[in-house]
Amino acid sequence: MQFLGPATRRNRQPQATAPTESFLLFRVGEETYGMGLQGIREVIEPRESAAIVPMGFQVCMVLPHRGQRLPVIRMRALFDVSPDETSATARVLVIREGHRTVGLLVDEVLSVAEVDPQRICPLPAMATLLDPALFRGVVARQDRLLVVMNERGLAEFEEVGAFYAGGV
């Protein structure tokens, strides 16, 4: 008969795994970023030929989408990545936050990753000149650091607010 002492019984007990959240990884310029998959409604190809850049807008453009006008944040412009041009692999992530639907034009959609949301820490204040509300934080993942975007902050971006305020 095999004796299972307390140590052995402890080793055989299933390890509790931390809950994870799915994040869509995407590229802007040479860096990889993440966004919670739950907030992403769809991923579409940009039709820049149909894009309109409202007067006074530096970052956003407007695309026709499903019979509506969709404000799209050009992430290369937001992040000041040059040149400000659209690659063949570019996609628009359509997110919905509250009553606002916003598109994010990114250079490439990469993959989906599982991350423990408890491990996401605030982005250091000196790390960026952008509004901290745009970022959910940063997490270490597989010896790399992943900056995670905040859907609410993006939906409340100034030019998006102007679009929905009817000023466009």
Binding site: C121, P124, A125, M126, A127, T128, L129, L130
Partner: protein, 161 residues
């Protein structure tokens, strides 16, 4: 990772202790008490729209730290050495710790307070507002910088050649 107290140099009680380092051939120093660790350089993850002298962020001991390059802050355009050093410093503002990239760490410099002289209006092109004192180390000047002011001020600086 190197502890500051393993760097050569003796801290003598009653004297002001500073950590000396090189940037673009100039000798600088910071308050030794504000230096937590010295690390080998590692490439930071670049963050979007970062300030001109910020290289990005690194992960160290479960903390995410902004990486500030002192060469760039001092307006030095030439590339630095391939293997600079990182000083983990007591931070300012909302970042409790920050990583400061310098060319090379030299040693601990411990001097009586009266050996640190008030700076002239400008030293190496740096205004006196950003300098705590100047000392002579073997015939070469050492500029003790006020890192908190230097790293948080938006004023551009151009280190004199």
């Amino acid at each position: 990772m190197i502890q500051p107290d393993t760097i050569t140099g003796e801290v003598i009680e009653g004297q002001l202790a500073a950590l000396m380092f090189l940037v673009a051939g100039r000798q600088f120093a910071v308050d030794l008490g504000r230096v937590q660790h010295i690390l080998e350089y590692r490439r930071p993850t670049r963050t979007p729209r970062r300030p001109p002298f910020v290289e990005g962020i690194i992960h160290h001991k479960n903390r995410f730290l902004p990486v500030l390059n002192l060469r760039k802050r001092l307006g030095v355009e030439e590339e630095g050495p391939a293997n600079p050093a990182i000083l983990l410093m007591v931070g300012t503002g909302r970042d409790p710790v920050l990583a400061l990239v310098v060319d090379r760490v030299l040693r601990v410099l411990s001097l009586p307070g009266d050996r640190w002289m008030a700076p002239p209006p400008r030293m190496f092109g740096i205004r006196a507002e950003f300098i705590r004192g100047v000392a002579n180390d073997g015939g070469r000047p050492v500029v003790w910088v006020d890192d908190a002011k230097l790293l948080t001020s938006p004023e551009p600086i151009g280190l004199l050649a």
